[in-house]
Symmetry: C2
Subunit: 530 residues, 2 copies
Amino acid sequence: MPNARLKFWGWGREDTVLGAEEIRHLESAYAKRFGLSSYEVTPTPRAEDIALRAPRVAVPGALAEVCSTDRYERLLHSYGKSFFDSARVFARDFSNPPDAVAFPRTEADIVAVLDWCDAIAAVAIPYGGGSSVVGGVEPPRTDRPVITIDLRHLDRVLEVDRTSQAARIQAGVYGPSLEGQLKPSGLTLRHFPQSFEFSSLGGWIATRGGGHYATLYTHIDDFVESLRVVAPAGTLESFRLPGSGAGPSPDRMFIGSEGTLGIITEAWMRLRPRPTFRASTSVRFRDFYRAAECVRGIAQAHLYPANCRLVDADEAMVSGAGIHAILVVTFESADRPQEQALKRALEIARAHGGEYEEPAPGREGAQREGAAGQWRDAFIRMPYFREVLTPRGIIMETFETAITWERFPDFHAQVKAATERAILEATGKPGLVTCRFTHVYPDGPAPYFSFHAAGDKPRMIEQCWQIKIAASEVLNRLGGTITHHHAVGRDHRRWYDRQRPELFAQALRAAKQRLDPKGMLNPGVLFDPA
Amino acid sequence: MPNARLKFWGWGREDTVLGAEEIRHLESAYAKRFGLSSYEVTPTPRAEDIALRAPRVAVPGALAEVCSTDRYERLLHSYGKSFFDSARVFARDFSNPPDAVAFPRTEADIVAVLDWCDAIAAVAIPYGGGSSVVGGVEPPRTDRPVITIDLRHLDRVLEVDRTSQAARIQAGVYGPSLEGQLKPSGLTLRHFPQSFEFSSLGGWIATRGGGHYATLYTHIDDFVESLRVVAPAGTLESFRLPGSGAGPSPDRMFIGSEGTLGIITEAWMRLRPRPTFRASTSVRFRDFYRAAECVRGIAQAHLYPANCRLVDADEAMVSGAGIHAILVVTFESADRPQEQALKRALEIARAHGGEYEEPAPGREGAQREGAAGQWRDAFIRMPYFREVLTPRGIIMETFETAITWERFPDFHAQVKAATERAILEATGKPGLVTCRFTHVYPDGPAPYFSFHAAGDKPRMIEQCWQIKIAASEVLNRLGGTITHHHAVGRDHRRWYDRQRPELFAQALRAAKQRLDPKGMLNPGVLFDPA
């Protein structure tokens, strides 16, 4: 049975929406929080009702099999999945769609599409799963035609090397298909971002995606063994190596390049056997900062838990996981039992005032229930909430960062306060700002903030920007990165430009000029259009 | 008491040379191996006897305190520490010295020196400890004046952040001083390359040096939290962050740039508490490839031993550690006992035919003796051997690489055979080629080859090049990196150029052009002179 179409107006496929009970639960929770008596619900847009600019290009005959100017495809590829995208979708604002969408099946197709873009002076936007929440796949406002290149058909695991535990994989494959194809080998990439179902390997690499591992292997970066990239200036491929010290790493120039330097078509990725041993529990803390100190202790003990997510009390409450800050600690291994490591982590937790039930040996199922399980279920459902909240005038957005430990408590307090203040100023009502750690390092955490506010539908986008700008300004002033794993896209440019050393920006721009002489690739992302 | 001067003709300081007994031992071992009845020993060169080109520059008055044209300094800064360097030293060939050597005390001094270089169209060679074994600090043959910039006075730990376990450190500091300054904090960088005593933080970063850790944190790269760099086009500094996903990493462009993109002046480095728990033992194997399979097992179990060095039987014999392949496995931690991890590693070793004595709990001292201790002592003394062997006509050189596991056995056999064949062809006599693993990854090892040959003194350099070229050609053809942690320098250029994707080379060259518009910095290293 073929898959249902992807929603152009929300997360995932058209046949997967929240159930009536889930919607009632969300409605009631937000109504209570913001004192709303009822909702006026904007109906879900229908493709045929949307006014859409005629394509500014005609697809040449040779590319007819590869390129589409279909209305639905142009709608689907107009936006990523941020609140701003959702709000524009429900406002029926598709004023700047791509003119055509290419679905190459081979690298030769990509080259042909880029040649066409070159011939018609078009902009080309590399597109994986389209899960960007930073404006990374949205067409720029330009008089040039815009061709989006959707890599979904480059979806094969081409080669598995069981001896070295690595595989050569096409970049357009989505998470579930990638893991499904690896399954017979017993190996796994185990990169599970929240977007896992609808994001691609190439997208993860191009945006330095953060995944499953809370420590040690936090970004996709470290799993890349080699890359193959098609740029307007040609094709390049790095040597497949477990490690090297030969000059600046070629891979590291393309990892995080967000489609501006070339289109990643393949990668050799490092894998590992599916874990068979697991030890996990959750710890309650009455104080978030003491919990953070505990996480620092675990990180600096170099215990390397696979999961070490700290959720503050407000976020735990929102997800139904309780009224305390919750730390979920999980160790996993394909080689040996992990109880010892968990025991040591719990000693550290206890020393920092953490409370927990002694993990019951061998009862992994039980550990999957409880607060940790509650939180994980909510985590996976979360991307679906937006298409329910936005049409009800609720602003829900997130931003994430990283900061060294010695600055963290003040940083957290100031960013949270500034965001709360901005919500009040923008909407006239108090909102909710919560924080969790998605990843942690010996030298600092990666705090991930969510904010919720009752918006005024016609002004929601402006209100949300006002909040995001206020938060980002404080975060930037206090030295946090403008993005730990969501990427820069268009939305973070103004802060990225201030954080990125200016001479590095110039050097990188010179490199881009060589790889993409006409500034065809994703102009406005990372760099200003040429 | 002030330190003795550094030897311009060998390793370390003038007051540290091998003792008569050590020399006799070396002489007798090599005599036996190569059937030599006696040695004609070239005397150690004296600075005053060497014909030296007059400096092609006059140091301007404003830089008189910072720059020297002293004979000894120009000799010292003429070469690194490879066999080729040693052979040229003993041949009294100092035909291409730097014209002056700058010893900046501040960043402002560096800027002033670069300004002077710019004004006189000079070449500038950044210089840390001068321990390069790849021609990384040697002046190019050029009509332009050459100024070497020795950073030894930028030698302070400026700031220690105990909370985040990191420190801001000047790039010119040598290993022992760096660790000495960190000592009061209880923190350590624990980066111990063989060159530790006479190499600098900036040099480690610029060359992607490999250090203490055999697994996980193999290169200095991962310890860099942020960098400060002075380039001819200006100064840049990256944000201090535990992790980030904001575009391609600025630090990764300069890590491994070998002095060609800018001069690293400071770095925030990640530290850790000094380890207090240790579990270590050595395992004997009758077959090197079975030992390699054992190392693969340990690496793929993600046990992360700090040391996991496999030494083949020939190398074990040379260093007096026995007649078998020896695997030294060490776990260390500042947090908890490591016996469990060692026990698991030994289970894996036993399954692969490894033999060992059960480690005696609490007898760490004893573990430091035995085969592992023998090998470590030899490791630290090794750089001193060259100044004894070269004047006796013995060629001793090393090269190192990395390769994925599935190719390793064939790769090792072919590289070793090609090197042995080349020694026979170049010298007319069989030589000795040994191999160890310096670092290992889940997806492959970093094999380090040493070769020993009886050379013909007037032709030694040519003979050694003949061997190195033959080995590198095979290594390159079979897909190994041309350098895992020694860097590219001038000596590896011809293979690096073939391994580095051409489009990446062009992009990086464009970046260099922006940072160093006149091609002042280390021309010929990584890039051709402009």
